[in-house]
């Protein structure tokens, strides 16, 4: 018996916005608070160059977090986003530096590799019924190993591919508005996030993403090919990791095969701080973006204040717990 259903019902989209809204408001407020706090604490913090550095640092993590958001809304998890990113970067290195092919081919190869690996994870999960945690844990290790094998454990540099570093470091916006040197990497993050938000809110794939997280069996019994859609979500998330791979390779002007572990947890942390439910069915890309920004501001601000690296990690962990606790308290009241 539900007695409390007389209030005017908000629309699904409106509700999603609203469900995320408090959390996002809270997350957004925390973000502002952090910015103000660090500005007061250090005059070096609020410098344009530092702000750009924060945005630049968010770009890779943010793109990975968007990929993680999609998977988490289905009620799954993807632990392989970090090493998949590295693997895609290495593939780009092989295509561009070792084979000397033109730049667009390298980008396409990285994204296609991401999609393929995502599809593999999706197949393990949907067809072989391996729990997402295990399947992507396996993928994480496989990809880490393959990155090292293919690269011979040495970084691959992109010195022979002119313009490659501009993908992330260049600034189309800065070329037009010299006072606003926002790097392309950030632009790409917003493009990826916007596209992902559109897919989630407006397309069949997006609707099934939420439906899978809400009640997968009911969707299957509606005659929907749930395996196909689930694999599609993982493949889409994988291709976004491919984009992240290009971004990080461009920023470092090299593919660093040893990099990647740990990124998946930062991505999941950003998703959670952004108010997406780990049990699936609920979540927003905007929340994830704010979550990623909070993480980046925190890391950067603590560094500007010369807090030791070890302590930065401790603070980040505490923030994650606080953020989720705040969300729980809010939900209990609601």
């Amino acid at each position: 018996m539900t007695a409390v259903n007389s209030t005017t019902p908000p629309s699904l989209l409106g509700r999603l916005v609203e469900a995320g809204a408090h959390q996002k408001l809270l997350a957004f407020a925390s973000l502002i608070l952090l910015l103000v706090g660090f500005s007061i604490a250090s005059p070096n913090f609020m410098q344009t160059s530092n702000m750009i550095a924060i945005l630049q640092a968010t770009s890779v993590n943010g793109v990975l977090a968007v990929a993680a958001t999609l998977v988490i809304i289905t009620g799954g998890i993807d632990l392989s986003v970090g090493t998949l990113m590295t693997f895609c970067a290495v593939i780009a290195g092989v295509v561009l530096t070792n084979l000397g092919l033109p730049l667009p081919l390298g980008v396409i190869a990285a994204i296609a590799t991401g999609a393929f690996c995502g599809l593999c994870s999706g197949t393990f999960i949907a067809k072989m019924k391996i729990p997402p945690f295990i399947a992507t844990l396996g993928m994480m290790l496989i990809l880490k190993g393959l990155s090292l094998v293919i690269s011979g454990t040495r970084p691959i540099y992109f010195n022979d591919t002119p313009g490659f570093d501009q993908i992330s470091r260049g600034s189309l916006i800065g070329d037009i508005f010299p006072g606003l040197p926002i790097p392309n990497g950030v632009l790409i993050l917003f493009l990826v996030a916007g596209t992902a938000a559109y897919i989630l809110g407006r397309t069949v794939l997006g609707r099934y993403t939420f439906a899978l997280g809400s009640n997968e069996e009911a969707v299957r019994l509606s005659g929907v090919n749930t395996d196909f859609w689930k694999m599609s979500v993982y493949a889409l998330a994988g291709s976004i990791c491919g984009i992240a791979g290009i971004l990080i390779a461009s920023r470092l002007n090299s593919a660093q095969p040893a990099l990647g572990l740990g990124y998946e947890l930062e991505a999941i942390a950003a998703v959670v701080i952004g108010g997406t439910s780990l049990s699936g069915g609920r979540g927003t890309v905007l929340g994830t973006l704010i979550g990623a920004l909070i993480m980046a501001v925190l890391t950067n601000g603590l560094r500007v204040l010369s807090v030791a690296q070890e302590w930065q990690t401790v603070v980040t962990g505490a923030i994650i717990i606080l953020a989720v606790y705040a969300d729980m308290v809010r939900r209990r009241r609601a």
Partner: protein
């Protein structure tokens, strides 16, 4: 004599809802007092106040003459009020005794658990219930009925004087219900007062002393169970008399056979089941719990694998290995468990109606046309009279009857001409039931083939043009619908265990 429980003028408001309006209720010791009303009438809210889950906003609550305020479930337990929820709340991986004494396990020194004492105390309770149960059995291995006994034992272990049972027979078969009633009668003899919430009229006649009816959050009246005719109770509940119009069986001998199933098999659950349904026909499936009716439905629909058997749709053999194959063939399945298998409960009515046919609302790039989805949803909200504030309401907030209509809308929009309803009125109140019946009849009238699986014989008899009866995975017979078939005929087939009586091959 003081009442065991006496509630007068109970008030409860939720934001925007006046949930209880000056409700009165009383219970004597040694009494089984049935609490009835449609979903949303306020029964559960009233019981939640009694069991300390909600605080009351007004009114008086006396336990054995003392004014009390149970402000937590724990406080209610201390007052001797135990509640057994419809959805059992046991830990499946723990043993029976561990479940009963969870949170107050007997201990030895240094905080070590005293398993021996635990099991001995559990055995003691079972003895007082005259129940044969091993306290060391893992709960997950028990049947639902036995699990319910564990819940009762748990409630009794708190020395409960008041026991609230919310739809205790919803998942039980007849033999198990009889066992439950034996226990209830024994508790009654011991002076325990029992509040019995149920939708099933025949049970009230068997077990209840008095019946209190609620409607729309208000108290309607209290009557004696034995002397009050069922139609009177129903009219108190719905505020109108419900007529039981008998089924009229149309002549379908000329109608096309839409679905034909031959030699369906799976393990011990489905043994060589063959039947057919014609266009415009309602085929009822009767049988006891566990007879294999749901299994047959799920096998036809491709939700579970099958070992063998041929399915023909419109005379053509149809390879169905997953639900999407069945849907493509025009078969829709409405599960008995709507929350788990029918609805994406956290999503809105609009999405749920479109869930089986999102491809129709999308452009080639997969972009959804929300406007078309809204129109379709509102169309069905009007046609099926789904009571919802809007098409954007989350379905979990709708009543059972309206949730069922949303599932029906989903399949109608998908153009399914074969609809399998598994327990279509489970958890749905009396008023909404007759609406669902009307809907099923209309669906058949429009020329769809309808299969109705139901554990309630009156329901099967009221709807079916033919009645297929199953027992232990076998189809034991197909009876004609209408007045020539009696409940006894069906029960005879439903308990027909001899495999030699199994009908051969295709039958009409």
């Amino acid at each position: 004599m003081t009442n065991l429980v006496r509630m007068t003028g109970i008030e409860k408001r939720f934001p925007g809802v006046h949930a209880l309006k000056a409700v009165s209720f009383e219970l004597d010791s040694g009494e089984v007092h049935a609490l009835m009303g449609e979903n949303g009438a306020g029964k559960s809210t009233l019981m939640k106040i009694l069991s300390g889950i909600y605080p009351k906003d007004g009114g008086e609550l006396l336990i054995e003459g003392r004014d009390v305020v149970p402000d937590s479930p724990r406080a209610a337990q201390d007052l001797g009020i135990g509640i057994i929820h419809q959805e059992l709340s046991l830990m499946n991986d723990l043993t029976v005794a561990q479940n009963i004494f969870i949170g107050r396990e007997p201990r030895k020194r240094f905080g070590l658990l005293d398993e021996a004492a635990l099991n001995a105390q559990a055995t003691e309770i079972f003895r007082s219930m005259n129940l044969n149960m091993n306290p060391k059995t893992v709960v997950g291995e028990l049947t639902i009925a036995r699990q319910q006994m564990v819940e009762i034992a748990k409630a009794l272990s708190y020395r409960s004087k008041v026991l609230i049972m919310d739809e205790p027979t919803a998942a039980l078969n007849d033999a198990e219900i009889a066992e439950l009633f034996t226990i209830i009668r024994r508790l009654k003899a011991d002076g325990v007062g029992i509040i019995y919430i149920s939708h099933k009229m025949d049970e009230l006649k068997q077990i209840a002393d008095r019946v209190t009816v609620m409607r729309d959050g208000a108290y309607v009246g209290t009557v004696g169970a034995a002397e009050t005719p069922v139609s009177k109770i129903i009219s108190m509940m719905v505020g109108r008399e419900v007529t039981n119009d008998p089924v009229t069986v149309p002549d379908l001998s000329e109608a096309e056979t839409v679905l034909e199933v031959r030699g369906l098999n799976r393990g011990k659950e489905i043994r060589d089941v063959s039947f057919s349904v014609r266009k415009g026909e309602i085929l009822g499936f009767a049988g006891l719990m566990g007879a294999g009716r749901t299994e047959v439905a799920r096998a036809i629909f491709g939700a579970d694998p099958r070992d063998g058997g041929e399915i023909r749709v419109h005379g053509k053999p149809c390879a169905i290995s997953k639900p999407s194959d069945a849907v493509r063939a025009g078969i829709g399945y409405l599960s008995e468990d709507r929350k788990h298998f029918g609805l994406a409960t956290g999503m809105d009515v609009r999405t749920n109606v479109a869930l089986a046919s999102l491809d129709r609302f999308s452009s080639r790039l997969g972009v959804l046309n929300e406007e078309a989805m809204r129109k379709t949803a509102q169309d069905y909200i009007g046609k099926l009279e789904i009571r919802t504030p809007s098409d954007r309401q989350e379905v979990r907030l709708l009543s059972g009857g309206n949730q069922q209509k949303v599932v029906i809308a989903k399949w109608l929009y998908r153009d399914c001409d074969i609809l399998i309803f598994d327990e279509p009125t489970r958890g749905i109140d009396v008023g909404a039931k007759s609406e669902i019946y009307k809907l099923l009849k209309n669906l058949a009238g429009e020329g769809r083939a309808v299969i109705v699986i139901s554990s309630e014989l009156p329901e099967v008899m009221r709807l079916s043009h033919r009645i297929a009866v199953m027992c232990e995975g076998r189809l034991t017979g197909i009876l004609p619908g209408g007045e020539q078939t009696s409940q006894e005929d069906i029960m005879h087939l439903a308990t027909l265990r001899a495999p030699s009586m199994q009908p051969e091959g295709y039958q009409q």
